[in-house]
């Protein structure tokens, strides 16, 4: 029983991480139709920026803010420099461009930060906390709290602010949105900045758990993408639910079956969902046949 509680706790932490990445995929896909494969790289940039800032003696809160801003600025630059310039190309071409961005950013990070993984201690020091027989590290609680803040923040943004509603309008019908004086190009930039900013902050929160290295982006992106697909790829809350589900399934599979199965299970789930229920486990049926 304690085993189960422990595995669930690990799964939820893992799931919250995937959820943070998955939300970024959804934000960008909703507004632009693009799957941003570079999503994980912004977490990596956020994580490594935070390690550098902390190493320079900058206080933790400022370092996390700096990581967020760095990732958001980079995301905005990349959107203007690649996606916006090539906006007349097909969606497939734009997706390939994000793959190019992904490997370029991880290669550049290798040049800047080198191969050695970096790490810093948890935000609050102290022994793990015991919940129903599972010991949960304090940093896991930070991750969960951060995920909850993002979830509530996004709900408020999309439901309660004019800009958020404009973004939703863009996602529903870009032509109609234009008629209401909403610029889809500006919304695309905003989606990238918002999504990469969240990724940057998430990266900084992750470091005490996963460490930070130039290569951490792609695996996280693949898991986050799986989370987003499970959630139907259109709803931020769906992506969060999908992330938690994926994290728990992975944790249980590696605990009860074989630890080597963890990644294989994630990709089998991704494949099965895409083939059997492309609208996501939680999504509604889309009309996609011609």
């Amino acid at each position: 029983m304690n085993d189960l509680a422990q595995l669930l706790a690990t799964g939820v932490t893992l799931g919250a991480i995937y959820a943070m990445v998955g939300v970024g995929f959804v934000l960008i896909n909703n507004v632009t139709g693009i799957i941003n494969f570079a999503q994980g790289e912004y977490l990596m940039v956020g994580a490594l920026t935070a390690t550098t800032l902390l190493a320079a003696g900058i206080p933790l809160a400022v370092a996390v803010a700096g990581a967020t801003l760095a990732a958001a600025a980079l995301g905005g630059l990349v959107e203007r420099g690649t996606i916006h310039v090539a906006r007349s190309a097909s969606i497939e071409t734009l997706i390939l461009i994000t793959i190019g961005t992904s490997i370029t950013l991880s290669g550049l990070a290798l040049l800047v930060w080198g191969v050695t993984p970096r790490r810093y201690g948890p935000f609050t020091a102290g022994p793990p906390i015991d919940v129903f027989g599972a010991s949960i590290s304090r940093q896991s609680l930070w991750v969960l709290a951060f995920a909850a803040v993002v979830a509530v923040g996004l709900w408020w943004f999309f439901e309660r602010t004019v800009v958020g509603k404009a973004m939703r309008a863009c996602a529903m019908n870009p032509e109609a949105a234009r008629l209401q004086a909403i610029s889809p190009a500006r919304m695309s930039l905003l989606a990238f900045v918002l999504s990469t900013g969240i990724a940057g902050a998430a990266g900084a929160v992750l470091v005490p758990i996963t460490g930070a290295s130039y290569a951490m982006g792609l695996p996280l992106a693949l898991k986050g993408f799986t989370a987003a697909v499970i959630g139907g790829l259109v709803s931020p809350l769906g992506a969060i639910a999908g992330g938690l589900l994926l994290g728990i399934v992975e944790s249980l599979a590696s605990g009860y079956i074989a630890s080597g199965l963890k990644d294989g299970i994630a990709f089998a789930v991704l494949f099965a969902v895409l083939v059997l229920r492309p609208q996501g486990l939680l999504g509604r049926r889309l009309a996609s046949r011609v």
């Binding site: 909703n30 632009t32 139709g33 693009i34 799957i35 690649t82 996606i83 310039v85 090539a86 906006r87 007349s88 190309a89 097909s90 969606i91 497939e92 071409t93 997706i95 390939l96 461009i97 793959i99 190019g100 961005t101 992904s102 490997i103 370029t104 950013l105 290669g107 550049l108 290798l110 040049l111 080198g114 996602a171 529903m172 870009p174 032509e175 234009r178 889809p184 190009a185 695309s188 792609l218 693949l222 993408f225 799986t226 697909v229 790829l233 259109v234 080597g260 990644d263 294989g264 990709f267 089998a268 494949f271 895409l274 083939v275 492309p278 889309l286 009309a287 996609s288 046949r289 011609v290």
Partner: protein, 356 residues
């Protein structure tokens, strides 16, 4: 006349092979072993050019078929003692069957869900390679015999290169004929507008599955040849990075022409050798992994600037838009029309895809 031209092009192409071998060793980085890698990559990516360039689909799991070929060859020759040639053929058959099954499952999906499904398939295959006993796990498999035709063994890099070069020439010719055939016209019609093609009586699922299978055969053949050349294979050679390499080769080279993969493969192998040999001289402790920056940057630049690759842009610039050289004008024109950000639907459906 127009029938002779492609044949003449292929004969000229075959003549380039020995010429490259003569130059090997005199020009830095132009080694026979690099030439083999170049030809193998070009062969595998020619299949991807067919899939991506002409039916308008994106495959992010092409390395899986490269891997199926390689591992089938390795397992059948080492475990069962089969002759390499037979193993190559069986590998191609298995790849074709897997591609047909995968194609039937995923081509019901439209737009980029297909890219995602092939990505998931490729990743899952990669993890299987590392997990299963029969593939040797992460340690891989060794002791794979070299190819032999009777008593003539393909032992040296030079012989191997000439063999792959000839197969590449034949492969390009077949690809060209596929594209020019009635099926090929249906294929190109599907690539430029699925709805219009379907309305004209084209069974688009069958056409897409068909080209996906043909593309997989190229990758499988190249993978088997690779296994019999290096004699030792491990999962790393068949992972996501290899799929991305094939993608870069096909895209950078050009998706509108069957010759694109050859241009792209020369580019990728050139970059990888350059970064492996030259960059460490300037940056201390640098290793081959820096090459990914160059791949990534090249992929972005080419896609942003040309949308359809270098070979295609060159053909455009030279103005040789003859039917034999330039094969997918409709698809290229389709890519230029409309905008993505401005007209992207939230979830792309087949009908909306046609608008682009």
């Amino acid at each position: 006349m127009s029938r002779l031209r492609p044949l003449a092009a292929v004969i000229a192409f075959l003549a380039v092979g020995p010429l490259l071998l003569l130059l090997a060793g005199t020009i830095p980085f132009l080694l026979a072993s690099n030439l083999v890698v170049f030809a193998l990559f070009a062969l595998a990516a020619t299949g991807l050019v067919l899939i991506m360039g002409f039916s308008g689909q994106v495959s992010l799991g092409h390395a899986a078929f490269y891997g199926i070929g390689a591992y089938t060859s390795a397992i059948l020759t080492v475990e069962a003692g089969w002759s390499p040639l037979l193993a190559v053929v069986v590998g191609v058959v298995i790849s074709g069957l897997v591609a047909a099954a995968l194609g039937r499952a995923v081509f019901r999906l439209s737009g980029h869900f297909l890219a995602m499904a092939t990505l998931a398939f490729g990743l899952f295959f990669f993890y299987l390679l590392g997990f299963l006993d029969i593939t040797g796990g992460n340690g891989g498999r060794g002791g794979i015999p070299k190819l032999a035709f009777g008593s003539f063994e393909v032992l040296t890099d030079e012989r191997m290169f000439l063999l792959v070069w000839v197969l590449l020439g034949v492969g390009v010719l077949i690809a060209r004929n596929v594209v020019q055939s009635a099926t090929g016209r249906a294929l190109r019609a599907t690539g430029s507008s699925e709805v219009a093609a379907a309305c004209s009586g084209v069974n688009i699922v069958r056409v897409k599955v068909g080209v996906f299978v043909v593309g997989a055969l190229y990758a499988s053949l190249a993978g088997s040849l690779y296994a019999h050349w290096v004699t030792y294979i491990a999962p790393d050679a068949f992972g996501l990075l290899t799929s991305i390499q094939f993608l870069v080769i096909a895209t950078v080279g050009g998706l509108g022409t069957v010759w694109g993969a050859i241009v792209g493969a020369a580019f990728v192998v050139g970059i990888s050798e350059l970064t492996r040999e030259v960059v460490p001289l300037f940056v201390e402790g640098a290793t081959g992994s820096y090459e990914t920056v160059a791949y990534g940057a090249a992929l972005i630049l080419v896609l942003v600037a040309f949308h359809k690759g270098i070979a295609d842009a060159v053909l455009d610039a030279v103005g040789r838009r003859s039917r034999s050289a330039r094969l997918a004008p409709a698809a290229a024109a389709g890519a230029e029309v409309g905008t993505t950000i401005d007209s992207a639907p939230p979830a792309e459906t087949g009908v909306q895809k046609q608008v682009r």
